[in-house]
Symmetry: C2
Subunit: 155 residues, 2 copies
C-alpha cells in the first residue's frame, strides 16, 4: 500500500526507486526497451515491491484500482506478458483456469492452497528433485514446475 502511493498519477515519478526493492523500475523498463509510462511504472512497483509475490491479472487489476492507479485490464495483461517474456516474472499454471505470475524467478517450487486459491513459495532447498529423467531425443528441459497441492486437514 505505502510503496505504491508514490506512483499515483499526480506524484513525481522520479522518486519511486527507493520504494521498490527490485531497484529502479524506470531503469528496468529502460533496460527492456519499454517506455516508462505511468501504468508500467505503477505496475512494476506493485509487482516488485516486497509483499505479494503471486498474483493473477485480475488480482493485480484490483490492487491497482485500490491504489487509484488508472490502468485497464488489457494493459495489465500486456504488461504481465512483457515482463514474463523478459524473464522478470514466472508464469505458473495451477489449475485449468487462472494463470498466476510469480516475481521470484529463482528455481523454486510452490504450495497451492486449494481452499484459498493461493500460491505460496516453498523455501528454496527444502525440496530435492533427483534423477531428473533424460528428455526424449531432440528436446531439452525448459523448466520444471512442481506444485504441491494442499487441502485443509479434515481431522
Amino acid at each position: 500500500m505505502l510503496y505504491s502511493l508514490k506512483f499515483a498519477p499526480e506524484q513525481a515519478p522520479d522518486t519511486e526507486a527507493a520504494s521498490c526493492p527490485w531497484g529502479d523500475v524506470r531503469a528496468m523498463l529502460h533496460a527492456l526497451g519499454l517506455r516508462p509510462t505511468q501504468q508500467r511504472l505503477a505496475l512494476g512497483c506493485l509487482l516488485f515491491a516486497k509483499g505479494r509475490r503471486h498474483i493473477t491479472a485480475e488480482m493485480l487489476y484490483e490492487e491497482a484500482r485500490g491504489e487509484r492507479i488508472n490502468v485497464s485490464l488489457a494493459t495489465i495483461y500486456n504488461t504481465l506478458k512483457q515482463l514474463t517474456d523478459a524473464g522478470l516474472l514466472r508464469q505458473v499454471a495451477v489449475d485449468g483456469s487462472k494463470t498466476y505470475f510469480c516475481n521470484n524467478t529463482t528455481e523454486h517450487h510452490h504450495f497451492y492452497l486449494e481452499d484459498r486459491h493461493e500460491l505460496v513459495d516453498i523455501p528454496e532447498g527444502s525440496v530435492d528433485i533427483n534423477n531428473l529423467p533424460i528428455p526424449p531425443e531432440g528436446y531439452e528441459i525448459a523448466k520444471t514446475d512442481l506444485v504441491i497441492r494442499l487441502r485443509r486437514k479434515t481431522a
Copy 2:
C-alpha cells in the same frame, strides 16, 4: 480405433468388456452409480483402452466424432468430471488454458512437449522427490504435480 468400433450405437453393448483394458466399463459405471448410457460406455472405452492416455475434452470430442459416436461436448465435460471425481482420471494443469486428463492414476509425473502441446508420462521411479516440505499448519498434501516442460533443442 479398433477397440471403439464395438461401441458404435448399433452394436451389442455387452461385448465391450474384452476390448477395454480397464475391464468392464459397464461394471465400472455401475460401481460409480452411473447409468451405462451409450455415451458413457463409449467414452469410458475410449478413455481406458490402451493407447492415448492424456487427453483434453476437445481431443476426446474429436476422437469420439471420428468413431461416429454421437456425443456432445457438454456430455464430454460432464463425464470427464464424473470420472475425475471418482478418482479414475487425473486432471493435469499444464498451461493456463486447456485441461488435460490422464488415465494413469498412479503416482507419476509428466513431460510437457511445448511445441506439440502434448503430455507424456515420465516412467515411475525415474524421478525422486526428496525432503517434501512440511505443509503449513492445518494443511495436508492433496497431491503433487511435477511437470517438466520440454522445448525442442535449438542446437
